[in-house]
């Protein structure tokens, strides 16, 4: 990573932004959070659950309307922001003082700038589509009111996260989405696997959250403030060590939330949740919060070479790690989850490149939000038609049975592999270019990842929609109802057309005031890189076609497979490592602590008590109650007194 150090950084660029007070439509921006929050409150604490009251019958409509209303507010605000002067596009609106302790002041404020605006649109837009989709997907679930309540809670929390002007408020949203994620992964709590997966996600996320919390504490200790803008201003004057520590701690938080190595293990299990949840939370929005955090903290990362390098390494490793897992999984959702991990790895890698990559990280994040939500919802549609079977080996030849799902899924597929002209092509191409321009190895990792992505996505495609029918008995695949296919079509259109954001570098210019802008010259013309990427992708597709399209897919997963496949199926032994490194020693530690507590501390306490008790029991024997015994003691005392007097006199 030597070439990273040569990058000239323009840290002051972020600090130049001076937030302006909100007025007009922006002063109503809090509604974007309040609407889903109120809706969630109504749905969750309204009249008693399961009583088939009006909330149970129409609650899902209320939740969907809340998401759409939030989107409308966000869209109006975005249009208004477009109309603002470039210098006045960072808008802050103080709502109330959250806490004030001495000189420490946390304001509950809405901080709305170009970055937040994109996120608001993504979250509310994709969120609304997924709400609509969920109406169909969850139609038969007796607890769908609660489901929509959780979804609204998630939307509200996620919006708090991206609209936060203070790291502490951001942390509030951060924990809120963690809670919503926990609740939704374990939504089918009667399934043991779902409950365990929820718990696992929660625990692993705690590790990351601890990093973020420590980072915030460090900010407070160093700068006396946790306001994002003020921290950005102060960090420029802080030492290199502080910036590095902050960067690494925030990265730890980001790793937890975004399922990056080494905190990746929860994401695959999180697929136990309902598919719309996987699409919304574990593909499109929440898991990208880590990328958002890194980009939002650009001022910190700009100052720390080490932290940026760490981000790049994490991104590159996760990119390949996720891709590897994606190749080996037969569960369609887990294959997609591996892919999600891998794509977020791309984003992290881009974010770690500094100002040269931030915009592309966000760009890829948005396009990924479109096509991955599209694919997850497509997968949900397939499962819907296949009686909730998730094993791709039981699919095959579904393209004729589910034409709409097939076409929309195909759009997502082409986008993710980076087929020229689709959104993923532009975003991934830019990430790889930026990576090559900064560091050869990072670029190479991204390039290989692109080939592997093409391979495993082609595999998913072939196993699901092509080849022989391998359906189980009694399964009659059918197209999903309109309420589910319409969101798919919309998302497919966005997957195709999302690349338009790059038109004449719009997104780069748009984000430049937030993230800074930088361009590194490639050693070769960009078109050469693009060509190489396309070639690699084509190679991946071809290999997949040879391996899976030309041959029959075994009905059950073959056991005699290469060590690589086996590792992939076992999530590259991530759980085993966690168990061996943390769980077992943790168990030993707790057990030994319990032992120490039981025999050592309790022993000391109880021993003292027993000692006192025994002493008291002994002394009690002196209390015979017989006056004559007491008289004898007094007489003895008098004797001693006389002796003492005598001794003193003689001495």
């Amino acid at each position: 990573m030597t070439s990273l150090s040569t990058v000239v950084l323009a840290a002051s660029e972020h600090a130049d932004v001076v937030p302006v007070a909100a007025d007009g439509v922006f002063s109503w921006l809090w509604l974007v959070v309040a609407i889903p929050a109120v809706s969630a409150a109504i749905l969750l604490i309204g009249d008693g659950a399961g009583d088939h009251g009006p909330l149970d019958r129409f609650g899902h409509l209320l939740g969907t309307l809340a998401a759409i209303a939030s989107f409308v507010v966000g869209l109006v605000a975005f249009i208004a922001l477009l109309g603002q002067d470039v210098a006045e596009r960072a808008i802050t609106h103080d709502l109330w003082t959250w806490m004030q302790v001495g000189g420490f002041d946390v304001t509950m404020s809405v901080y709305y700038d170009q970055l937040a605006a994109l996120f608001v649109l993504l979250i509310t837009g994709v969120g609304s589509l997924i709400h609509v989709y969920s109406i169909g997907y969850m139609a038969d679930d007796p607890r769908k009111r609660r489901f929509f309540g959780f979804l609204n809670l998630f939307i509200a929390a996620m919006l708090v996260l991206v609209l936060a002007g203070d790291y502490l408020v951001l942390f509030l949203g951060w924990e809120g989405v963690g809670l919503a994620s926990y609740l939704l992964i374990g939504f089918w709590q009667e399934k043991r696997s779902a409950a365990v997966a929820a718990k696992k996600a929660f625990v692993v996320n705690r590790v990351g959250d601890l990093g973020l919390a420590l980072g915030i504490m460090l900010m407070f200790a160093q700068f006396g403030t946790t306001n994002i803008h003020d921290v950005g201003l102060n960090v420029a004057n802080a030492s290199q060590g502080v910036a590095t520590a902050l960067g690494l701690l925030l990265l730890l938080g980001a790793c937890g939330k975004s399922a990056q190595v080494p905190l990746q293990s929860w994401l695959l299990d999180a697929m136990e949740g309902p598919t719309p949840v996987s699409a919304l939370i574990h593909a499109a929005t929440m898991v990208t919060a880590g990328v958002y955090l890194v980009v939002r903290s650009a001022a910190i990362y700009d100052l720390s070479e080490v932290a940026r390098t760490a981000v790049v390494v994490v991104g590159a490793v996760t990119l390949l790690y996720g891709a590897w897992i994606g190749c080996a999984k037969d569960d369609i959702k887990k294959a997609l989850a591996g892919s999600t991990m891998s794509q977020i790895g791309y984003m992290m890698l881009a974010a770690g490149l500094g100002p040269a990559g931030y915009a592309f990280a966000i760009f890829h994040l948005i396009t990924h939000g479109f096509f991955k939500a599209n694919m997850f919802l497509g997968a949900g549609s397939v499962m819907h038609g296949m009686n909730d079977d998730v094993d791709m080996r039981h699919y095959g030849a579904l393209r004729t049975m589910m034409p709409v799902t097939f076409v929309t899924f195909a759009m997502g597929y082409l986008a993710i592999i980076g087929f020229p002209g689709f959104s993923g092509f532009f975003s991934k191409d830019k990430v790889i270019e930026a990576a090559f321009a900064t560091n050869f190895w990072a670029g190479l990792a991204a390039l290989v990842g692109a080939g592997v992505t093409a391979f495993y996505m082609t595999r998913v495609m072939i196993m699901t929609f092509f080849g022989e029918k391998r359906w189980r008995e009694g399964v009659h695949p059918h197209e999903s109802p309109k309420i589910m296919t319409v969101p798919l079509i919309v998302l497919a259109a966005l997957s195709v057309g999302g690349g338009a954001l790059l038109f004449s570098s719009w997104i780069v210019d748009w984000l430049a005031p937030v993230t800074g802008e930088e361009h590194h010259e490639l050693p070769v013309p960009p078109i050469v890189i693009t060509a190489i990427i396309v070639l690699v992708v084509a190679a991946g597709i071809a290999l997949a076609y040879v391996l899976f399209g030309r041959r029959a897919i075994p009905d059950t997963a073959p056991q005699k497979v290469s060590v690589f496949t086996r590792a992939g199926r076992a999530d590259l032994y991530g759980d085993a490592v966690n168990e061996a490194l943390f769980m077992r020693p943790g168990q030993y530690l707790t057990r030994s602590l319990v032992y120490v507590d039981g025999s050592g501390i309790d022993g000391a306490v109880n021993g003292t008590a027993e000692l006192v008790g025994d002493g008291a029991r002994g002394l009690r024997r002196l209390q015979t109650g017989f006056v004559r015994t007491y008289a004898a003691e007094i007489f003895g005392g008098a004797l001693v007194l006389v002796l003492a007097l005598l001794a003193v006199n003689l001495a």
């Binding site: 209390q623 015979t624 109650g625 006056v627 004559r628 008289a631 007489f635």
Partner: protein
């Protein structure tokens, strides 16, 4: 007349009284032994008064008598009331404060 024999007698009587308090169970006899101890003290007081040539010792003995009288009145009343409830004048029977 020497002083020492009187004091020695006083000490002897005091000790006998004290031992009597320790060994007797009948509350009335215990009381008598206490009286014996008080009287032994009185003897010492009177003796020292003579040795020192002033009457303060005799005054002290006088007060001891008064206090002893008061004490006997109250003490015997206590003994009577205890005897009335317990039908016993043994000091060992009134050992309610034991374990």
């Amino acid at each position: 007349m020497n002083v020492e024999p009187f004091i020695g007698l006083s000490a002897l009587l005091f000790t006998i009284g004290a031992v009597g308090v320790l060994v007797r169970r009948n509350a009335i006899i215990v009381f008598m032994c206490v009286e014996l101890m008080l009287n032994a003290c009185n003897l010492a007081f009177v003796t020292f008064a003579r040795a020192n040539g002033n009457l303060d010792g005799q005054i002290a003995a006088f007060f001891v008598m008064v206090v002893a009288a008061a004490e006997v009145v109250v003490g015997l009343a206590i003994i009577v009331s205890i005897y009335r409830t317990r039908r016993s004048a043994s000091v060992d029977d009134a050992s309610l404060l034991k374990l």
